[in-house]
C-alpha cells in the first residue's frame, strides 16, 4: 500500500503545453508539499498546504498552480510549459506542519 503516490511517473511534453501532476497520500496527514529537484539534485520547496489551506508559496512562476481538493490530495497544474521546467517534482506529506515528511516516487518532467 503506497503511502504517497504521484502520477504520472514520467511526463514528456512540448513547450507551451499545459500539464498536471497528481498526488495522493493515505497516511492521514494534514500537511502536503510540492518540491522541485533540479539536475544538480537541489531540492526546493514550491508549495505547502495544511488542511487544504495554502501556507507556503515560494517564488514560483504563477504558471504553477497547486490545488488541494481535500486533505489527502494535492495536485500541481503547470501552464505554458518552458524548457526550464524540466525537473523531477516530488510530492510529500507530514502529519502536521513541522514533522517528518514522507515523499512520493517523483515525477520526471521533460519539456522538449
Amino acid at each position: 500500500d503506497t503511502a504517497v503516490s504521484q502520477t504520472p511517473k514520467y511526463l514528456v511534453t512540448q513547450m507551451g503545453n499545459d500539464k498536471s501532476i497528481k498526488c495522493e497520500q493515505n497516511l492521514g496527514h494534514d500537511t502536503m508539499y510540492w518540491y522541485k529537484q533540479d539536475s544538480k539534485k537541489f531540492l526546493k520547496i514550491m508549495f505547502s498546504y495544511n488542511n487544504k489551506e495554502l501556507i507556503i508559496n515560494e517564488t514560483v512562476p504563477n504558471r504553477f498552480s497547486p490545488k488541494s481538493p481535500d486533505k489527502a490530495h494535492l495536485n500541481l497544474h503547470i501552464n505554458s510549459l518552458e524548457l526550464g521546467d524540466s525537473a523531477v517534482y516530488f510530492c510529500a506529506s507530514s502529519r502536521i506542519t513541522g514533522a517528518e515528511a514522507f515523499f512520493g516516487q517523483g515525477t520526471r518532467l521533460t519539456v522538449v
Binding site: Y33, Y35, K41, F42, L43, K44, I45, S48, N50, I55, I56, F90, A92, S94, T97, G98, E100, A101, F102, F103, G104, Q105, G106
Partner: protein, 114 residues
C-alpha cells in the same frame, strides 16, 4: 535568509573507512531530518532529530544535532558499498503562527569504492 548547507558536496571513500558529513543552518531550529536518495528514486527518511544533543544510530550511520552551533553531523562507520547514495539534511524553520518551512541542504553525493 534561511540557508542549509552541507559539506562536502561530493564524497568518494574506500570501503571500511569512516567519514562525517556536516549540515550547517542559518537560523535557530531544533528540528532536523536526514534523508537518503538512491539514483532515480525517492527520498527515504533516515533520522529525526528534535532536540539539542539528540543522537540517533542505525547500522553504520549515526546522526547528531547541536542546536547551539546550528550543526548536525552524519557519521559513517566502516563504509560499505550499499551506503552509496545522496544524503540530504532538512531543517524545519518556525515561521510563526504554528507553521514551519522545511528547507533542504544541498545534498552530499557519497560513493563508496570497493
Amino acid at each position: 535568509e534561511l540557508k542549509v548547507e552541507q559539506n562536502p558536496l561530493f564524497l568518494s571513500m574506500q570501503e571500511g573507512k569512516n567519514y562525517t558529513i556536516y549540515c550547517n543552518y542559518s537560523t535557530t531550529s531544533d528540528r532536523l531530518y536526514w534523508y537518503r536518495q538512491d539514483p532515480g528514486k525517492s527520498l527515504e527518511s533516515l533520522f529525526v532529530l528534535l532536540s539539542n544533543g539528540a543522537v540517533k544510530q542505525e547500522g553504520r550511520l549515526m546522526a547528531s544535532l547541536d542546536t547551539k552551533a546550528r550543526l548536525s553531523t552524519l557519521h559513517i562507520t566502516a563504509a560499505v558499498h550499499d551506503l552509496s547514495a545522496t544524503y540530504f539534511c532538512a531543517v524545519d524553520f518556525d515561521r510563526g503562527s504554528g507553521t514551519y518551512k522545511y528547507i533542504f541542504g544541498t545534498g552530499t553525493r557519497l560513493k563508496v569504492l570497493a
